[in-house]
Protein backbone atom coordinates (compact mmCIF):
# COMPACT_ATOMS: atom_id res chain seq x y z
CA UNK A 1 0.00 0.00 0.00
CA UNK A 2 2.89 2.33 0.77
CA UNK A 3 4.28 1.65 -2.71
CA UNK A 4 1.01 2.76 -4.35
CA UNK A 5 0.80 5.94 -2.26
CA UNK A 6 4.47 6.65 -3.01
CA UNK A 7 3.91 6.20 -6.73
CA UNK A 8 0.84 8.48 -6.54
CA UNK A 9 2.76 11.22 -4.71
CA UNK A 10 5.74 11.00 -7.07
CA UNK A 11 3.41 11.10 -10.08
CA UNK A 12 1.64 14.17 -8.72
CA UNK A 13 4.89 16.04 -8.16
CA UNK A 14 6.16 14.96 -11.59
CA UNK A 15 3.02 16.32 -13.26
CA UNK A 16 3.44 19.48 -11.20
CA UNK A 17 7.01 19.76 -12.47
CA UNK A 18 5.75 19.54 -16.05
CA UNK A 19 3.13 22.24 -15.34
CA UNK A 20 5.66 24.60 -13.79
CA UNK A 21 8.02 24.02 -16.72
CA UNK A 22 5.24 24.95 -19.13
CA UNK A 23 4.49 28.05 -17.02
CA UNK A 24 8.21 28.92 -17.01
CA UNK A 25 8.33 28.74 -20.80
CA UNK A 26 5.01 30.54 -21.38
CA UNK A 27 4.77 33.16 -18.64
CA UNK A 28 2.93 36.48 -19.05
CA UNK A 29 5.22 38.47 -16.72
CA UNK A 30 8.79 38.13 -15.47
CA UNK A 31 7.49 37.67 -11.89
CA UNK A 32 5.64 34.56 -13.02
CA UNK A 33 8.86 33.11 -14.35
CA UNK A 34 10.58 33.61 -10.99
CA UNK A 35 7.57 32.10 -9.21
CA UNK A 36 7.56 29.13 -11.60
CA UNK A 37 11.27 28.59 -10.93
CA UNK A 38 10.63 28.70 -7.17
CA UNK A 39 7.78 26.20 -7.46
CA UNK A 40 9.96 23.93 -9.61
CA UNK A 41 12.57 23.90 -6.84
CA UNK A 42 9.88 23.00 -4.29
CA UNK A 43 8.63 20.15 -6.49
CA UNK A 44 12.18 18.87 -6.99
CA UNK A 45 12.80 18.89 -3.22
CA UNK A 46 9.63 16.82 -2.75
CA UNK A 47 10.74 14.38 -5.47
CA UNK A 48 14.17 13.99 -3.85
CA UNK A 49 12.54 13.29 -0.48
CA UNK A 50 10.09 10.78 -1.98
CA UNK A 51 12.94 9.06 -3.81
CA UNK A 52 14.71 8.75 -0.47
CA UNK A 53 11.64 6.95 0.91
CA UNK A 54 11.51 4.77 -2.23
CA UNK A 55 15.10 3.58 -2.01
CA UNK A 56 14.71 3.11 1.74
CA UNK A 57 18.09 4.52 2.71
CA UNK A 58 16.67 7.62 4.36
CA UNK A 59 16.68 11.19 3.22
CA UNK A 60 19.13 12.61 0.74
CA UNK A 61 19.55 15.45 3.17
CA UNK A 62 22.37 17.31 1.44
CA UNK A 63 20.60 17.29 -1.91
CA UNK A 64 17.32 18.60 -0.49
CA UNK A 65 19.02 21.30 1.57
CA UNK A 66 21.19 22.46 -1.36
CA UNK A 67 18.13 22.70 -3.59
CA UNK A 68 16.24 24.67 -0.93
CA UNK A 69 19.11 27.11 -0.39
CA UNK A 70 20.00 27.76 -4.03
CA UNK A 71 16.32 28.06 -4.93
CA UNK A 72 15.69 30.67 -2.23
CA UNK A 73 18.82 32.68 -2.99
CA UNK A 74 18.23 32.67 -6.75
CA UNK A 75 14.57 33.74 -6.42
CA UNK A 76 15.38 36.58 -4.04
CA UNK A 77 18.37 37.68 -6.13
CA UNK A 78 16.26 37.74 -9.31
CA UNK A 79 13.50 39.75 -7.62
CA UNK A 80 16.00 42.10 -6.00
CA UNK A 81 17.73 42.67 -9.32
CA UNK A 82 14.45 43.51 -11.05
CA UNK A 83 13.42 45.81 -8.19
CA UNK A 84 16.63 47.74 -7.63
CA UNK A 85 18.82 47.15 -10.70
CA UNK A 86 21.54 45.39 -8.72
CA UNK A 87 21.65 42.41 -6.38
CA UNK A 88 23.97 43.77 -3.67
CA UNK A 89 24.36 47.52 -3.26
Amino acid sequence: MIEIALAYAMGCFAIGLVMTTARLLMAPTIGDRILALDTMVVNVIALVVLYGIYTGDGLNFEVAMLFAMTGFVSSVAFAKYLLRGSVIE
Partner: protein
Amino acid sequence: MTAALEYLLVALLVIAGTFGLIGSYGLWKLRDPMQRLHAPTKASTVGVGAALLASVLSVTLLHDGMSWHELLVVIFLFITAPITALFLAKLHIHATVARRDLPPTGVDRDWASFDERPEDDEPSLPRPADPR
Protein backbone atom coordinates in the same frame (compact mmCIF):
# COMPACT_ATOMS: atom_id res chain seq x y z
CA MET B 1 0.76 0.02 16.08
CA THR B 2 2.73 -0.65 12.92
CA ALA B 3 -0.45 -0.83 10.86
CA ALA B 4 -1.62 2.54 12.24
CA LEU B 5 1.74 4.09 11.39
CA GLU B 6 1.48 2.65 7.89
CA TYR B 7 -1.95 4.21 7.41
CA LEU B 8 -0.61 7.54 8.66
CA LEU B 9 2.32 7.28 6.25
CA VAL B 10 0.01 6.55 3.33
CA ALA B 11 -2.28 9.45 4.29
CA LEU B 12 0.68 11.83 4.49
CA LEU B 13 1.94 10.70 1.09
CA VAL B 14 -1.48 11.19 -0.53
CA ILE B 15 -1.86 14.64 1.08
CA ALA B 16 1.62 15.63 -0.09
CA GLY B 17 1.00 14.56 -3.67
CA THR B 18 -2.45 16.15 -3.85
CA PHE B 19 -1.30 19.49 -2.47
CA GLY B 20 1.78 19.53 -4.68
CA LEU B 21 -0.38 18.92 -7.73
CA ILE B 22 -2.92 21.58 -6.64
CA GLY B 23 -0.15 24.12 -6.14
CA SER B 24 1.36 23.60 -9.56
CA TYR B 25 -2.06 23.45 -11.22
CA GLY B 26 -3.03 26.73 -9.57
CA LEU B 27 0.16 28.30 -10.84
CA TRP B 28 -0.84 27.20 -14.32
CA LYS B 29 -4.56 28.00 -14.12
CA LEU B 30 -5.17 31.14 -12.05
CA ARG B 31 -5.60 34.41 -13.92
CA ASP B 32 -4.15 37.22 -11.82
CA PRO B 33 -0.45 37.40 -10.81
CA MET B 34 -1.33 37.85 -7.15
CA GLN B 35 -3.63 34.82 -7.31
CA ARG B 36 -0.80 32.85 -8.88
CA LEU B 37 1.39 33.90 -5.97
CA HIS B 38 -1.14 32.31 -3.63
CA ALA B 39 -1.27 28.82 -5.17
CA PRO B 40 2.32 27.49 -4.89
CA THR B 41 2.57 28.47 -1.21
CA LYS B 42 0.29 25.53 -0.50
CA ALA B 43 2.64 23.23 -2.38
CA SER B 44 5.67 24.51 -0.52
CA THR B 45 4.16 24.31 2.96
CA VAL B 46 1.60 21.49 3.16
CA GLY B 47 2.91 19.49 0.18
CA VAL B 48 6.60 19.37 0.99
CA GLY B 49 5.90 19.45 4.74
CA ALA B 50 3.78 16.30 4.49
CA ALA B 51 6.37 14.61 2.26
CA LEU B 52 9.15 15.34 4.76
CA LEU B 53 7.00 14.13 7.69
CA ALA B 54 6.35 10.96 5.68
CA SER B 55 10.12 10.61 5.32
CA VAL B 56 10.55 10.90 9.10
CA LEU B 57 7.83 8.27 9.61
CA SER B 58 9.25 5.89 7.02
CA VAL B 59 12.68 5.95 8.68
CA THR B 60 10.97 5.25 12.02
CA LEU B 61 8.91 2.48 10.50
CA LEU B 62 11.42 0.69 8.29
CA HIS B 63 14.58 1.20 10.32
CA ASP B 64 14.91 1.71 14.04
CA GLY B 65 15.56 5.17 15.34
CA MET B 66 14.55 8.62 14.26
CA SER B 67 15.90 11.02 11.67
CA TRP B 68 15.58 14.72 12.43
CA HIS B 69 17.29 16.05 9.30
CA GLU B 70 13.95 16.45 7.54
CA LEU B 71 12.80 18.97 10.10
CA LEU B 72 15.72 21.23 9.18
CA VAL B 73 14.56 21.30 5.56
CA VAL B 74 10.97 21.98 6.70
CA ILE B 75 12.08 24.87 8.94
CA PHE B 76 14.24 26.33 6.17
CA LEU B 77 11.37 26.17 3.67
CA PHE B 78 8.91 27.70 6.15
CA ILE B 79 11.29 30.58 6.85
CA THR B 80 12.25 31.33 3.24
CA ALA B 81 8.89 30.87 1.44
CA PRO B 82 7.27 34.07 2.85
CA ILE B 83 10.38 36.11 2.02
CA THR B 84 10.27 34.99 -1.60
CA ALA B 85 6.53 35.68 -1.74
CA LEU B 86 7.06 39.17 -0.31
CA PHE B 87 9.71 39.97 -2.90
CA LEU B 88 7.50 38.73 -5.73
CA ALA B 89 4.58 40.81 -4.43
CA LYS B 90 6.84 43.89 -4.35
CA LEU B 91 7.91 43.10 -7.89
CA HIS B 92 4.27 42.88 -8.94
CA ILE B 93 3.51 46.27 -7.35
CA HIS B 94 6.54 47.76 -9.06
CA ALA B 95 5.46 46.39 -12.44
CA THR B 96 1.74 47.21 -12.39
CA VAL B 97 0.87 50.00 -9.91
CA ALA B 98 1.49 53.60 -10.99
CA ARG B 99 3.69 55.78 -8.80
CA ARG B 100 0.89 58.23 -7.92
CA ASP B 101 -1.41 55.45 -6.66
CA LEU B 102 1.02 54.35 -3.95
CA PRO B 103 0.55 55.75 -0.44
CA PRO B 104 3.36 57.83 1.15
CA THR B 105 6.09 55.79 2.79
CA GLY B 106 6.30 57.81 6.03
CA VAL B 107 10.09 58.16 5.85
CA ASP B 108 12.36 60.52 3.91
CA ARG B 109 12.96 57.87 1.25
CA ASP B 110 10.67 56.90 -1.61
CA TRP B 111 9.36 53.40 -2.29
CA ALA B 112 12.31 51.07 -2.82
CA SER B 113 11.57 50.35 -6.46
CA PHE B 114 11.31 54.06 -7.35
CA ASP B 115 14.20 55.33 -5.24
CA GLU B 116 17.32 55.81 -7.34
CA ARG B 117 19.75 56.30 -4.45
CA PRO B 118 21.78 53.30 -3.26
CA GLU B 119 20.56 51.74 -0.06
CA ASP B 120 22.08 52.74 3.27
CA ASP B 121 23.90 50.26 5.47
CA GLU B 122 21.09 50.56 7.98
CA PRO B 123 17.43 50.27 6.99
CA SER B 124 15.60 53.59 7.05
CA LEU B 125 12.90 52.74 9.54
CA PRO B 126 10.75 55.53 11.01
CA ARG B 127 12.62 57.13 13.89
CA PRO B 128 10.71 57.51 17.16
CA ALA B 129 9.74 61.03 18.16
CA ASP B 130 11.78 63.02 20.70
CA PRO B 131 11.75 61.34 24.12
CA ARG B 132 9.78 63.23 26.66
